[in-house]
């Protein structure tokens, strides 16, 4: 019977519980918990938020309010590779819009969407602080700079 019961426990949820326990003596732990929960699951599903609400004894509405306030949190699953296109000032004056346009055209997705095969998610960000190399994008937090519409295809292809 033991094995059958073990199979019912979601390993991700175990990890989430560990995270919640880690912060149990911390003041104001909600945002770090949500950040780590998102790392575990890739996004914050209703199920996860309800679980956090129950364990932390915090109203779901309050948690939802926090999740929707910050742009880092996602309520829907993302692709295997997250492309952040920077449209900060430096990238804007050095042609960031053209980079975005090219990616949108190549991958046939808009800001916030994921390709049908689940390979890429596209997100616009305001500044990743690599302004010296504008225009830049970051894929899974790896920064690629001094881009041109022509150089994009080669970079994207590296991410399976």
């Amino acid at each position: 019977m033991g094995t059958a019961c073990e199979n019912l426990v979601d390993p991700k949820q175990l990890k989430l519980d560990e995270v919640i326990i880690k912060y149990r003596y911390e003041n104001g732990p909600l945002i770090p918990i949500l950040q780590e929960a998102q790392e575990v699951y890739g996004y914050l599903s209703v199920h996860v938020l309800k679980h956090i609400s129950k364990v932390m004894r915090m109203p779901l509405a309050k948690i939802y309010g926090v999740v929707t306030f910050y742009s880092q949190f996602r309520l829907a699953p993302v692709g295997r590779n997250v492309i952040n296109v920077c449209l900060g000032t430096a990238c804007h004056v050095r042609g960031g819009a053209k980079i975005l346009e090219t990616i949108e055209k190549d991958l046939k997705i808009k800001d916030g969407a994921t390709t049908e095969d689940g390979r890429y998610t596209l997100e616009i960000v305001a500044c990743i602080g690599a302004c010296g190399l504008a225009p830049v994008i970051a894929i899974n937090s790896e920064v690629h700079g001094r881009l041109s519409p022509e150089s994009l295809a080669g970079i994207l292809a590296k991410y399976e």
Binding site: A90, V93, G129
Partner: protein, 595 residues
């Protein structure tokens, strides 16, 4: 070859993305292969600041600066420079204005004209080793402070004239004094590392390159104020900065600089990191504290000020990264040394991030009061590709665009505010003749209205309406009365918003209206975009003289509106053209022009 050489390889975010880690690997292997392992040490440093020329490396003690280094250059550097002592000339930095190569980094105008106080260690020590920091005078300021009384430390910082480097420029010592005199047994200090201004990355540079200086500054501040706990609130977009800070905190705890009874002084201080979650408004101090407490980051009315009731209702002092990082230098070198730099009311040095259409993008530190011209042309090397300078945007979404005639302005808090801009965090985005100022004004409003937390109606709705008007103007549908409406709306938003975001969000529009009004009028009255940027107001044409009749433009035109052949010059049918710009992009002879 020289004994005990050090090779400093920049591995900041910028250079890392240009392949610095691979270079370090190849360099290590090559140095070992040539049997130089005992005499040459390779240091992976934080940002040198010279991002445009990255990956960069500096060889000490000769101070040779090599720029745009590639993996395949490494064997040559090792064989020629390290073993024979001869410069690899093709990798030296050539000044874009004088066209002369710089044989040492101190010879390069970019570095020579800077005064690096806060950036002193950035690029010259291994940020992951506390020993490097201590060897370079680190934690001396803390030791000095602990010998003084708390009040004396506050007094010292007051006398230094240091003002908040995050934007508003509030005197730091005064701020500390408020918090120190606030009654309460529990107090907090916070480092605001939520550097959200697009175009600013000096805090990232300091956190990545010299994290201990921030910790030391916070320790001194905490001692002066009477705080025993602190937070570094860093934006999540800076993973390397967070990593280096985590390492630094762990090392400082182990070395006894953080924790209980620090250096046997009886003073205790504990420091934690919180990662932001992507909200620009959290750079505002009350919103930042709400975020640390785990709430929506919405600003609250002041008073009560954080110094009276801050984090969890306790007296709290918040300064930004650059401010904290300036403090140890004041305490270790003295007020007199620090006040030799700067102007009467703005003391010390300030880091600026040079970006946009400028030759030398990167981080530069200069004394307060340096003119914009010196920063942009002497250090920055002027505008890229020989184009004409048009404007410099200073202070991010809260600042303004300043034209050519303002370049001799001294950069300090009061002068810039008077000119309709602000020092802000110190981002300088250079724009050339191909930048449309109406488009830029719209760009900033787009940013501000997206980042508005929505609490105050004027900021939430007003910025949207201003954006609508600007959008109409860029489409050629503006009316001349719109300009007055913009100014009126701007004044209302400034007067009636609660926090700095709302109060300053109309600044980019007001400043561009003040200095570039004719450009707005051209959009409205003549339906022309003088910079040929706004798609609705431009058309493409083919320069017959430059056209080589290759036909590439016609082949790539998605609506087939380009006609011509080997004998007849190519022409664009303006009525059918959708202004996608594909022809311009594909033409190898710059024959497609915007009119």
């Amino acid at each position: 070859m020289a004994e005990n050489q050090r090779i400093l390889v920049c591995a900041g975010t910028g250079c890392a993305s240009s392949g610095a880690h691979k270079i370090i690997g190849v360099l290590r292997a090559e140095v070992m292969r040539q049997g130089l392992g005992d005499n040459v040490s390779i240091v992976s440093t934080g940002c040198h600041g010279f991002c445009e020329q990255g990956p960069t490396l500096i060889i000490e003690p000769q101070q040779t600066l090599y720029t745009l280094v590639k993996e395949e250059d490494i064997p040559e550097i090792v064989a020629q420079d390290l073993m024979e002592g001869k410069l690899v000339e093709r990798l030296l930095y050539t000044d874009p204005l004088t066209k002369k190569p710089a044989t040492t980094f101190a010879n390069a105008n970019f570095f020579a004209k800077q005064v690096r106080v806060v950036l002193k260690n950035c690029g010259f020590i291994d940020p992951e080793r506390i020993e490097d920091y201590v060897e370079n005078g680190g934690y001396k300021g803390l030791a000095n402070a602990l010998k003084m009384s708390s009040d004396e430390v506050v007094e010292e910082v007051k006398k230094s004239g240091l003002r908040g480097r995050g934007g508003a420029g509030f005197p730091t010592g005064l701020k500390w004094g408020f918090c120190r005199n606030s009654p309460g047994d529990k107090k907090y200090v916070i480092c605001n590392a939520d550097e959200g201004d697009p175009g600013a990355f000096m805090d990232r540079g300091v956190l990545e390159g010299d994290p201990h200086s921030v910790i030391e500054g916070m320790l001194i501040g905490a001692y002066a104020i009477g705080a025993d706990e602190g937070y570094v609130y860093c934006r999540a977009e800076y993973p390397l900065a967070i990593k280096h800070m985590e390492i630094a905190i762990a090392q400082a705890e182990k070395a006894g600089y953080l924790g209980d009874n620090i250096l046997n002084s009886g003073f205790s201080f504990h420091l934690k990191i919180r990662a932001g979650a992507g909200a620009f408004v959290c750079g505002e101090e009350t919103a930042l504290m709400a975020s640390i407490e785990g709430r929506r980051g919405m600003p609250t009315v002041r008073p009560p000020f954080p110094a009276q009731s801050g984090l969890w209702g306790k007296p709290t002092n918040i300064n930004n990264v650059e401010t904290w990082s300036s403090v140890p230098h004041i305490l270790s070198n003295g007020v007199e040394w620090y006040t030799q730099y700067g102007t009467e009311k703005s003391k010390g040095t300030k880091i600026f991030a040079l970006t946009g259409k400028i030759n030398n993008t990167g981080l530069v530190e200069v004394p307060m009061g340096t003119t914009l011209r010196d920063i942009l042309f002497d250090i920055g090397g002027g505008v890229q590709n020989g184009k004409a300078f048009k404007a410099v945007q200073i202070g991010g979404p809260s600042g303004g665009c300043l034209p050519d005639e303002m370049l001799d302005l001294q950069v300090d808090y009061d002068t810039l505010t008077k000119a309709g801009a602000m020092v802000g965090s110190g981002g300088l985005v250079v724009m050339d003749e191909t930048t449309c100022m109406v488009d830029i004004a719209r760009f900033f409003l787009d940013f501000s209205q997206k980042e508005s937390c929505g609490k105050c109606t004027p900021c939430r709705e007003g910025n949207k309406r201003m954006w609508d008007i600007l959008d109409r103007i860029t489409k050629g549908e503006g009316k001349i009365e719109d300009l007055d409406t913009l100014e009126n709306l701007a004044l209302v938003i400034k007067e009636t918003s609660l926090c700095g975001l709302g109060q300053n969000s109309p600044n980019p529009v007001l400043a561009t209206l003040k200095y570039f009004r004719p450009e707005f009028e051209a959009h409205i009255l003549e339906h022309k975009c003088p910079a040929h940027v706004c798609p609705a107001l431009l058309s493409y044409s083919i320069d017959e003289e430059k056209c080589k009749k290759c036909g590439l433009c016609a082949k790539n035109c998605p609506v087939e509106c380009i006609s011509g052949d080997k004998k007849t010059p190519y022409k664009i049918d303006e009525a059918a053209c959708i202004k996608c710009g594909a022809c311009e992009e594909k033409c190898k002879f710059d024959a497609v022009i915007r009119v």
